[in-house]
């Protein structure tokens, strides 16, 4: 199910095709920096998480963090990519105040990870395979604050030297929506792998977006790079604005200048970056302070052996083993924590009811996606903050399945559980919500409602069968939802038929 035709944009002169490639910078979830022992923790006082190495004092030397190497390999494996057993760290030379040595240690010619593939789920249910060009390890820069003083820029090096994985896609994306879906999927994979926390607000995941437009079938147009976009929404807005800007320019007969642009979240526009205007010549060469990074196949295999089940595999398993819909499976695996919750829930229900996963899977998925996610979304809470544990939710599900409570009652009990954190059984007992299925007791209720509503009885007998729901509703109300609707239906039909 690959999406067949790329989305085209309309311009005055006809249709345009949008070509997008992304460079995602994902911060490795390490304790210390790539080449120094300073902490990577977010939000510290300025220049407190900085070593002499990060400051590039004379004579300071880099020593690589093995955990970061492992995470790069792990991520490469998660992206179905080739792992290069020999890679080289180069220096990318340029002057900037938040780059203390005057060069960034990065991997240019020989990255640690080569080509791979990500399967992206598009909102219409289709999927698209996006090529990964490479993944390499590099250092982050520090932070320049331009708004603290009228005449000065402030420099904080806390981030300087933090390990980043730069994940470069092929120019395979064709719309803002696809670009957004790609980043979401990449983020999901990274979080499953545990190699990056994916926190875009704190800058753990940032994108540089290359955008160009062309007439369908024409050669590639000149591209512009939009730097440091830090949310999926901004990414989509930036792509939309930039593609429109390029189309308007080209249609007005202006050429596109290859340049670096900045996305302004306040205006929703992109603009040329003055500081990056100068043509760069990075003078890459292998860092003589480091040796080539050599990995053994065993090292790679031991990392492969420790990979978790990834979202695509998990989704396929949910569909196959638990017989749940593609849509529900996709929603459930989008966050590892949700999928974990769901699996714990299904297991607990299985235990309580001795039913198989296949029999209960879709019902369980409905409860989690509709009830639980609905409630959590309203409160903007993550699944980890759910007041109902998987086991408690299974308690509720079991009561519903064995007929102790009705479906509508179950919804009520759910709300109570969500609000109070109490167990389902306790709520049912406390409030007397147990479903009444005893025919004798229900017969009296049915007789009463028939006696009290002669007009409706007449309508029913005259052929208007929809009136039946009126009777059911009345009885449910009278029983506070405890009456078993199936039994009531049966009795009503029998008695009204006379």
């Amino acid at each position: 199910m690959t999406s067949p035709t790329p989305a085209l944009l309309k311009g005055e002169t006809g249709e345009w095709e949008l070509i997008i490639g992304l460079e995602v910078h994902a911060q490795v979830s390490s304790q210390s920096k790539l080449f120094s022992g300073a902490s990577t923790e977010f939000g510290a006082e300025p220049n407190t998480q900085v070593s002499l190495v990060d400051t590039a004092f004379p004579g300071m030397l880099p020593v690589i963090n093995d955990y970061c190497v492992q995470q790069a390999v792990r991520t490469g494996l998660g992206l179905n990519a080739r792992i290069n057993l020999r890679s080289v760290f180069d220096r990318k030379n340029y002057f900037y105040p938040d780059l203390p040595p005057g060069y960034q240690i990065s991997q240019y010619k020989q990255p640690i990870v080569g080509e791979g593939i990500v399967t992206v789920d598009l909102p219409d249910g289709s999927v698209r395979e996006v090529g990964i060009e490479r993944l390499h390890l590099e250092q982050d820069a520090g932070k320049s604050l331009h708004d603290q003083h009228p005449k000065l820029t402030y420099v904080d090096l806390n981030r300087a030297g933090v390990a980043l994985m730069e994940i470069v896609s092929k120019p395979d994306l064709r719309s803002a929506e696809e670009a957004g879906a790609y980043v979401k999927k990449l983020r999901t994979i990274l979080r499953y792998l545990g190699t990056c926390d994916g926190n875009m607000e704190q800058g753990s995941l940032r994108c540089d977006v290359n955008v160009s437009v062309r007439k369908p079938g024409a050669p590639l147009g000149t591209r512009c790079e939009i730097k440091n976009v830090n949310s999926v929404r901004f990414l989509q807005q930036a792509v939309e604005f930039e593609s429109r800007r390029q189309i308007d320019a080209l249609e007005a007969g202006r050429a596109i200048k290859q340049e670096t642009r900045l996305y302004d979240a306040n205006t929703g526009e992109t603009r040329s970056m003055r500081s990056k205007e100068e043509a760069h010549d990075y003078r890459y060469f292998p860092d003589p302070d480091l040796l080539p990074l050599e990995l053994s196949q065993d090292y790679v295999e031991s990392i492969r052996g420790s990979l978790p089940e990834l979202p695509d595999a998990k989704r396929a398993r949910f569909e196959k083993d638990l017989a749940i819909s593609h849509y529900h499976a996709r929603v459930l695996v989008a966050e590892k924590e949700s999928a974990d919750y769901f699996e714990a829930f299904v297991a607990a229900v299985e235990k309580r009811t001795t039913k198989s996963g296949r029999d209960i899977g879709q019902d369980c998925a409905n409860v989690v996606v509709t009830e639980l996610f609905g409630a959590l979304n309203k409160d903007a809470k993550p699944i980890e903050a759910s007041p109902i544990t998987p086991d408690a939710l299974a308690g509720l599900q079991a009561l519903k399945m064995d007929g102790t409570i009705s479906g509508p009652t179950a919804k009520k009990v759910f709300e109570e559980m969500y609000a109070t954190g109490k167990q389902a059984a306790a709520i049912v007992e406390e409030k007397g919500l147990r479903q009444v299925s005893d025919t004798g007791a229900l017969e009296a209720m049915v007789d009463k409602v028939i006696a009290d509503n002669p007009k409706q009885v007449e309508q029913y007998r005259g052929g208007k069968e929809t009136v039946l729901t009126f009777f059911v509703g009345q009885i449910m109300k009278a029983s506070r939802g405890t009456a078993n609707p199936a039994v009531i239906n049966e009795l009503l039909k029998k008695k009204l038929a006379r």
């Binding site: 400051t55 300071m60 030397l61 203390p100 005057g102 890459y284 060469f285 003589p288």
Partner: protein, 493 residues
């Protein structure tokens, strides 16, 4: 008793142990000699109080019987080693105000072994030079002069201050660094011993970098034994330097057996360059005869790419330096010149902070790495470098050590070569090949030129085989009986 400043490091060590004098007396004698030698401009920063405090601590330790290997021995530190709390300049205006908050790995080892620091000695700016004339703090004078001449001679470079201090007997020993010959060539010019160990032996952590793939620290002393003693303290694995080698450090002093029977010594034919002075040829032949007389076999060997070592070096070293020196930008330490904007500040700071030779090398290095030229220059040089290393590896299949002159001339006069960078670069013609291959090399004083200036012989060994180099050097030293010393013309009476 001889003056305390005339003692070798080994004799001073033994004298302290035998309580013939105290560390304080020994240090005071050197502090006084250092002050008297100011006309030589060997020191950028003198630290006499610190020296005397360290000596006092040494005396306590000696008294307590807890003396360390270099206890109480006053030495000079090249001002390229970062020293905690003591200004470290690399002889550059751009680092003039810089006071490190950290101690280089090598100086830390020396101080942990009890050495006393007299101060920081002069060098070519950022170690770029072969005559110590590029220092922002002015040139160093060689204690040696031609017989009957008052003209200043250069001490060689870049470790010119180190060589002058040891040769002029106002430091027992000194640290040096060698990128293309910066220990060996000044040692030869000043009539002392200097050894550049194998790349990776001494940690580079805390040494101001010039060219990272070549820089290596080493000792400069008056005797081979002193070099062995000091090298042992300076060497050793350092996890903070990714190019440091995790290998046990031998007791180099024990390697000096004086026995080289059966040793195979190679004479690299290509080192017999055009225009080499006769007396250098002569001393080289004499060196071979001495080793032969001691039981070694002399064999000619081929190092066909020798003539390409210098051009290779003058691509690799400037390329690395252009990147290594990018950190001197006026933001975090060192000089800052005001500018209208950031670029103005950068260009002003770096333009004013770096001297002529440093600027020249940064520009060449920037050029050879720039887009379109990288393959033709840098990559080409790294390929030739691989071939040069292969030449040595082949030679060492047949011989154990190589014998060659250290430099193509004796110390030249100040100003004689400053106008022509390439003439200056040619000074390193015999030292650069071993640097490119990362091999250990030593310079030993072997005699005097007709004009009364010292001449050095160089021995190059296999990687990590400093022991053979030192043992052979010991034999050369024994045979040469180099007892000449410079007249102390700088001392006022």
């Amino acid at each position: 008793m001889a003056a305390l400043t005339d003692l070798s490091l080994a004799d001073a060590r033994d004298g302290l142990k035998a309580r013939k004098f105290s560390a304080t007396e020994l240090t005071r004698a050197h502090v006084e000699a250092m002050a008297a030698a100011r006309p030589l401009n060997a020191f950028i920063t003198e630290t006499p109080e610190r020296a005397l405090a360290m000596a006092a601590e040494s005396d306590k330790r000696i008294a307590a019987g807890t003396a360390r290997p270099l206890e109480g021995l006053p030495i000079a530190i090249k001002d390229l080693f970062c020293t905690k709390g003591v200004r470290t300049t690399a002889a550059s205006h751009i680092l003039e105000p810089f006071v490190p908050t950290y101690e280089s790995a090598v100086t830390q080892k020396l101080f942990d072994d009890g050495a006393v620091m007299l101060g920081k000695v002069n060098l070519d700016e950022f170690a770029m030079g072969s005559s110590n004339e590029t220092s922002y703090f002015g040139p160093v004078e060689n204690p040696w002069r031609r017989i009957g001449e008052n003209r200043s001679r250069v001490p060689g470079g870049s470790s010119g201050g180190s060589a002058a201090a040891v040769s002029g007997r106002f430091a027992l020993a000194a640290t040096g660094t060698d990128t293309g010959g910066s220990i060996r060539q000044p040692a030869a010019f000043c009539g002392i011993v200097g050894i550049k160990p194998t790349y990776g032996r001494c940690s580079r952590w805390g040494i101001v970098a010039f060219a990272s793939s070549l820089d290596q620290a080493g000792p400069m002393t008056r005797t081979v034994k002193d070099a062995a003693i000091m090298l042992r303290s300076m060497s050793g694995f350092d996890p903070k330097d990714s190019t440091s080698v995790d290998m046990a450090v031998p007791d180099y002093e024990k390697a000096l057996t004086g026995n080289i029977k059966g040793l195979k010594v190679g004479i690299p034919e290509e080192y017999r360059v055009d225009g080499m002075p006769k007396e250098i040829e002569a001393i080289w032949s004499k060196g071979a005869e001495w080793l032969k007389a001691a039981g070694a076999t002399i064999k000619p060997v081929k190092l066909p790419l020798t003539k390409y070592a210098l051009p290779t070096y003058y691509i690799v070293a400037p390329a690395e330096c252009s990147s290594n020196l990018a950190r001197y930008d006026g933001v975090r330490f060192g000089l800052r010149e005001k500018g209208d904007d950031l670029t103005g500040m950068y260009e002003g700071t770096r333009g004013a902070g770096f001297g002529r030779e440093v600027r020249r090398r940064i520009l060449i290095g920037t050029y050879v790495l720039s887009a379109g030229y990288y393959d033709a220059y840098y990559l080409k040089a790294q390929r030739v470098r691989a071939l040069i290393a292969r030449d040595f590896a082949n030679a060492f299949k047949d011989v154990d050590v190589l014998l060659a002159p250290t430099a193509p001339s004796a110390a030249f006069a100040r100003g004689e070569k400053t106008a022509d960078p390439i003439a200056m670069y040619l000074n390193d013609v015999f030292t650069v090949p071993a640097s490119l291959a990362g091999l250990p090399g030593i310079s030993v004083p072997a005699g005097l030129s007709g004009e009364g200036l010292p001449l050095g012989l160089q021995l190059i060994g296999r990687a990590y085989d400093e022991e053979t180099v030192l043992r052979t050097a010991g034999v050369l030293e024994q045979a040469a009986q180099f007892n000449a010393r410079p007249a102390t013309w700088w001392k006022q009476n």
